[in-house]
C-alpha cells in the first residue's frame, strides 16, 4: 500500500486534512475472539473512512459493558468517554450542548440500553438528539457472565448448569426508538457487512437521532443454535427488507432517479439513501405506523427483518430547538459569559 493510499481526506473547520489510517483505528480489542462487537467496530472504521468523518470533531461515548468497551478500539484521534451504566445518553446530551459541532457516536449494549438505561435512551430519542446511537445487541450481559438482558428471548435458558428460563418477553429496541421519537431507526446484523456499511454511512450523515440495533452474537454466553442472537441464527434468518445504497453528497453528480424502482431519501447534508425493496411488504420507510406495523408483524412470524425501518430527515433535532449561538458554548469568550456591571445593577434594581 502506498503512502497516498494510507491517508484519508477529511474536512475540518472548513479546511481539508489528510489523516493517516491510524486516526480511524483504535487499540486492539480485548473482547472474546469472534465477538460480534469486533465486526461492528470494523464496519464503523470502514464507514468513518468512507464518509470522511473527521475524528477531531467526533466524540465517541459509551455506557458500561462489553459493547461499551469498544470506543477504545476505533477512532484513535477522537475523544472518548466510557461513562456510567445506562447513562451514556445524558453525557452525550451534555457534550453536544457544550459543543454542538461535535459528531456524536454512542455505543451501548442491550443491558446498557434496554435495562438500566431505557429511560435515558428514550429521552434521547424523544429529544431527537443528533447522534449515532448503536446498540450492540447480544441478548445477555457478557461482562458479568451471561445473565439475561431485556432483549433476551422469552424462555431462553441461561448457559450454566442451573439453566434458568427467561420468564419475560423482550423489548424490541427499534420499536421503542420509533415510539420514542428517533428519526432514523434501523436493524442489522453484525455479520451483514454490506448492509451494515450502507446503514452506518447513512446514519453518520443523518441529522437527528440515528438508532441502529445491531444483533451481535456473544460467542461465550449466547451463541447456541436456538438463540436469536447467535451467528448461525442470524445468518440463516437475516431477512433484509431492502437493498440499501448510500450516495454521499457529491454536488457535481446528479443522482440517477430510477422511478418506481427505488425509494430515495435525501439526508440533511445532501447525501442520499437508496432503498430497493426486497420483500412484498408495502412498507413506507417514512411512516412510523408502517414501520411499527412491519416490526409487530415480523414478531408474530418470528422473522428477523433487517434494514432501514424508519427515517424522517426533515425533523428538527434537539440542538435546533435551543437557539444557541453558533460558537460552541465551550468556546465562548469571557465577554459572552459575563454580562457587564450594568446588568448586575439592573438585576439588583428589582430587589
Amino acid at each position: 500500500m502506498s503512502n497516498a493510499e494510507a491517508t484519508i481526506a477529511v474536512r475540518s473547520n472548513g479546511h481539508a486534512l489528510s489523516l493517516p489510517v491510524v486516526a480511524f483505528q483504535g487499540s486492539p480489542s480485548t473482547l472474546c475472539k469472534g465477538c460480534g462487537h469486533n465486526s461492528i467496530t470494523s464496519r464503523l472504521i470502514d464507514a468513518a473512512k468512507a464518509v470522511g468523518l473527521n475524528p477531531y470533531t467526533t466524540a465517541k461515548l459509551s455506557g458500561i459493558g462489553c459493547s461499551s468497551k469498544t470506543p477504545a478500539y476505533f477512532l484513535n484521534y477522537s475523544h472518548g468517554f466510557n461513562a456510567l451504566h445506562g447513562r451514556m445518553p445524558s453525557v452525550a446530551t451534555g457534550a453536544l450542548l457544550a459543543n454542538h459541532r461535535l459528531t456524536m457516536i454512542g455505543i451501548s449494549g442491550d443491558g446498557d440500553t434496554a435495562n438500566i438505561g431505557l429511560g435515558q435512551f428514550k429521552h434521547a430519542c424523544r429529544r431527537n438528539l443528533p447522534m449515532l446511537y448503536i446498540v450492540e445487541n447480544n441478548g445477555c450481559y457478557g461482562l458479568t457472565k451471561g445473565q439475561f438482558s431485556a432483549t433476551a428471548d422469552l424462555r431462553a435458558r441461561l448457559r450454566r448448569a442451573s439453566g434458568e428460563e427467561n420468564p419475560a418477553a423482550p423489548f424490541d429496541l427499534c420499536l421503542e426508538a420509533i415510539v420514542g421519537g428517533a428519526t432514523f431507526v434501523a436493524r442489522s446484523f453484525a455479520g451483514d457487512k454490506k448492509q451494515l456499511d450502507a446503514l452506518l454511512k447513512a446514519a453518520l450523515s443523518h441529522k437527528g437521532l440515528a438508532f441502529l440495533d445491531i444483533i451481535s452474537p456473544c460467542v461465550t454466553f449466547n451463541d447456541f443454535p436456538e438463540s436469536t442472537k447467535s451467528w448461525a441464527w442470524g445468518r440463516e434468518h437475516n431477512e433484509p427488507i431492502q437493498e440499501i445504497g448510500f450516495v454521499p453528497r457529491l454536488p457535481e453528480i446528479e443522482i440517477e432517479q430510477q422511478a418506481g424502482q427505488a425509494t430515495q431519501v435525501r439526508l440533511h447534508d445532501g447525501s442520499t439513501i437508496t432503498l430497493r425493496a426486497l420483500r412484498e411488504d408495502h412498507h413506507d420507510v417514512r411512516s412510523r405506523a408502517s414501520a411499527m406495523d412491519l416490526i409487530l408483524t415480523s414478531q408474530e412470524h418470528n422473522e428477523f427483518l433487517t434494514g432501514l425501518l424508519y427515517v424522517a430527515p426533515e425533523k428538527p433535532d434537539f440542538l435546533d430547538t435551543l437557539g444557541m449561538t453558533d460558537t460552541p458554548l465551550a468556546h465562548l469568550p469571557d465577554e459572552a459569559l459575563r454580562p457587564g456591571p450594568e446588568a448586575l445593577a439592573d438585576a439588583m434594581e428589582a430587589f
Binding site: A98, D326, L344
Partner: protein, 653 residues
Amino acid sequence: MTTSVQSLPERGGVADARGSVNDLAIRVGTVNGSGSQSANLVLVRALFAMGIPCAAKNVFPSNIEGLPTWFHIRACDKEYIGNHPDPQVLVCMNEQTAADDVRQLCAGGVCIHRDDFKESIDGGRDDVRFVPVPFARLVGEAYPPDKSDPGYREKLRKVINMVYVGVVAGGTGIEMDAVRTAIRQQFPGRKAKAAETNIAAAEAGYAWAVENLPEGLPYRVERMDGTAGKILVEGNQAAALGAVFGGATVLSWYPITPSSSLAEYAEAYLRKYRTNPDGTRNFTVVQAEDELAAIGMGVGAGWAGARSITATSGPGISLMAEFVGLAYFAEIPVVIVDVQRMGPSTGLPTRTSQGDILTMHTLGHGDGRHIVLIPASPAECFSMTAEALDLAAEFQTPVFVATDLDLGMNLWMSDPFEYPETPIRRGKVLDADALEAHIQQFGGFGRYRDVDGDGVCYRTLPGTEHPLAAYFTRGTGHNEKSGYSERPEDWQANLDRLTRKLETARESLPRPVIEADPDARVGLIAYGSSHWAAVEARDLLREQGIPTGYCRLRALPVDATLGPTFVEKYDRVYVVDQNRDGQVYSLLRMAMVGGLDARLISVTHYNGTPIAAADIAGPIADWERSFHHDGSLTTPSKAPSEPRAAGPVVSTE
C-alpha cells in the same frame, strides 16, 4: 465519648409585655392558595423602606391549596434577622391553626384575628391580648361588590389580606406611605387598578386600627437608617445570578423543592442578560428527565468544555452520587447547588436543614472528597456560585454549593452583590497550539500526568485538532495517559495525586471568618444559614456573662489551620449544625489533632424549622452554667442536666 447538646423549641425570646421599638416579630397564619403572599410581602417591603433591617420566612406545606401556611417577619434594629420562634404580633386568618398559633406567642403578645371564628382560640392564655377585627365588613366597604366582574369573589378573597396589613401597620407604626409604595411595587404596570383596590383595603384596616387601638400596640417600629444600600432578596435569586455572572453555559436540572426556583430564576436571568442582539443564546438550559440525567448532562458538558451547573436538593443528590464519583475520579468540572431540605427521602420537603453537608463532601463510592462552598447570605450565594464555576474549572472536579431552604427560598436583607473582580478562570485547558508547546516542553501529553506538581493536570477538549489531543475518559482505573490500568501502583498514585490536588484546592477556598474574643473561654463554630442565629446567640450569651469567639466556616475541606487559629484559643468550642448527628462537628473532630477534638461540643437543631438564637444560646448557657470548670480541658463525665420536657436536652454517650 460523643458529647452532644441538642435543642428543643423553647419559649422565651427578646420580647416581653413591656413592649419594644424596632424589634418586631410578626407571624401571619393563613391558608395556602389564599393570595396572602402579596400582603405579606407588602409588610416586609414597608418595614424595609422604613430603614429597619428585616427578613421574612414563608413557612409552607408541601401542597398547592388549602393547607395552613405561615409567614414570619422579623424587623430588628440590631440586624437580628434569623428565625424568631415566638412572635409578638400574630395575625390569625386561619381558624384551623389559630389556637396552635396563639400558643407560640410570646408573653404579652398580641393576636389580631378574624372576628368570625366559631371556636375560642385563646387556649387559656391570659398573658396575650386578643384583637378581633371585622375583616369581612372592612374589605366589603373598601372593595364593594362589582356585579360586572365575574372574578370579584376570587379577588375579594385575596384583597381581604391587605386589610390585616393596614391593621398591623396602624397598630405598630408602619407608615402608610411605605405601605402604599410597597403595594404599588407589588402590583406594577397593568396591575395599577388592583394596586388601588388593595391600597383601599389596607387603608380601611389602618383606619380601623387607629380608631380601635388608639394607643397602638406595645410593639412599635420607627423609621431608622438601617437598610441604606441593602437589598431584600432570596438566596435562590442570588445563586441564580451567581450562575449568570459566573459564566455558566449549561444548566441542566430537574424540579425539586426547594431548588426549583433557583433554576427557574437562572433561566429567566440568562435569557435576559446572556442573549445576543440577534436572539441567539450564550447558554442553554435543559430540564432533564431526572437528576441522573441532570448531572449526566452536566458532566458531559463539563467534559466537553462548558461551565455546567445543576441545582437540586437531598433526594437529587442521592441520585447524582454515581456521576459525582465518576466526575471526581475522571476529573470533570461540574457545579451542584444543593438547596438542602429536611430528609431523608421525601422527609419534610418544604422545611429546612443542613442534613446533606457530609454527603456532599464525600458523595460517591470509594475514596473521594469534594469541595463544598457554604454561603451564609444571599450575597455569598451570589459570589460562591460564581466562584464554584471557577473552582470546578480550575481543579477539574465537582464543586458543591451548600445552601438550604431557609436561605434559598426566604427573603433576607443582604449586602448588594459585588461584581466579580477577577476574570473568569478556565483552568488548565490546552488548545491545539498550547498542546504542541506542552508536548515540546514535557515530551508528550498525558491527561493525568502531573507536570506542575500541584496535582492538577492538563486537559484537552473534544474537537481539538491535534493527533495527540484525544484521550479516553473512563471511570475505570487509569494510568497517566488515561489508558486502562489495574496496576496497584497506578491506582494508588492516581488517588494520591487527587489528594494532592485537593490540598492545592484547599488554599483557594473561602477562608473561615473568625471574630476572636481574647476574653472568651468559649468558642462558637457555625456555618451557612445558622450564622444569623449564631450572631444573635453570641449577644444573648454575652449578656449572660459568656463571651464567645466566633468562627464561621465557609468551605469544606476545612481550613487546615483551624486548630491553631481558633480551636486552641478556647476551652470549649461549640459547633452548630442544623442536623441531628452533628455532621460538621464530626468532621471537625476528625480534623483536629493534638487533643483539640476533645474541646468540641455539638449543638444541633433538626426539627425542620430554621435555627433560632435561643436554640444555640440556650444549650450553651445551660452547659456552661453546669460546668464548674477551672480552666482545665476535661469535659464533665456526667451530663450537666437531666433532659427536661420543655428545655434543652443534653446527652452524653
